[in-house]
Amino acid sequence: MTQVQPLRIEEDILNLAEIRSKDEHTTKTAAIKQFLYSGAEEYLLKLCSKGRISIGKAAEILHKSIFDLQESAKNKGIQLGITAKEYNESKKFARDLI
């Protein structure tokens, strides 16, 4: 579902959207939506890395697969997965095993 949202956008960003639309043979509106989507994805991945949202939920919000989201996180250098504290517990378990 989509909704109309009035928004004031800086002229420089609009110019950038114009350039992107020409580069990618799309509309300026589509380019702006891409900018917005990209920012939303990065924000959700950061929430995932902080343990505030799960990767499965983030994938649902973005209509993306977990595969693709893991790939995006890797490309953006965002660390997903367990926290340091949780990893230490795992590490202790690993130590006990070795």
Partner: protein, 154 residues
């Protein structure tokens, strides 16, 4: 052993899904996890499909799904683990917290590797190779923790 999508995705990406079979014999997943991992255009599609068809990855629907505010696969996997009083392979930080709230025993993908090592299914060199390939494919381990693990495997 129950699994959510991450372990299956990470292990199938490095062509080592069968380590789960060798360690646990059978892995149970709920339908939502099946939907998340069985994507024709993605790596590991054939190995996951074969595993489901041959039955060592068994798809079972939870009788009741607890709404935990997670993704559908995570919700169903944790619900199934609670219902069957089974362990679960989870790597997602928030899903781990949710499972902890129900006192569900948690195993991580890296722990699967060390369990395989402990059971002498793989040797230290193979364990290190698997660990490295997981990291190369986006599985996160901090540099410091990685160093500790590597020193143990060296």
């Amino acid at each position: 052993m129950i699994s959510d999508a991450t372990a299956l995705i990470c292990l199938s990406k490095i062509n080592n899904l069968d380590i789960l079979k060798r360690v646990y014999s059978v892995v149970i997943i709920p339908p939502a996890v099946k939907n998340e991992v069985l994507l024709e255009e993605k790596e590991g599609y054939s190995s996951i499909k074969n595993a489901i068809e041959s039955g060592w990855i068994n798809v079972i629907e939870p009788k009741e799904i607890i709404a935990l505010g997670l993704g559908a696969g995570e919700n169903q996997a944790i619900s199934l683990a609670k219902e069957r009083k089974d362990k679960i392979i989870l790597d997602d930080a928030l899903a781990v917290k949710a499972a902890n709230a129900f006192d569900i025993p948690i195993v991580r993908t890296t722990t699967v590797i060390f369990t395989a090592l402990n059971k002498k299914i793989i040797n230290k060199k193979q364990a290190l190779s698997l660990l490295n390939r997981l990291i190369e494919n986006g599985y996160y381990i901090s540099t410091k923790d990685y160093a500790v693990l590597v020193s143990k495997l060296g």
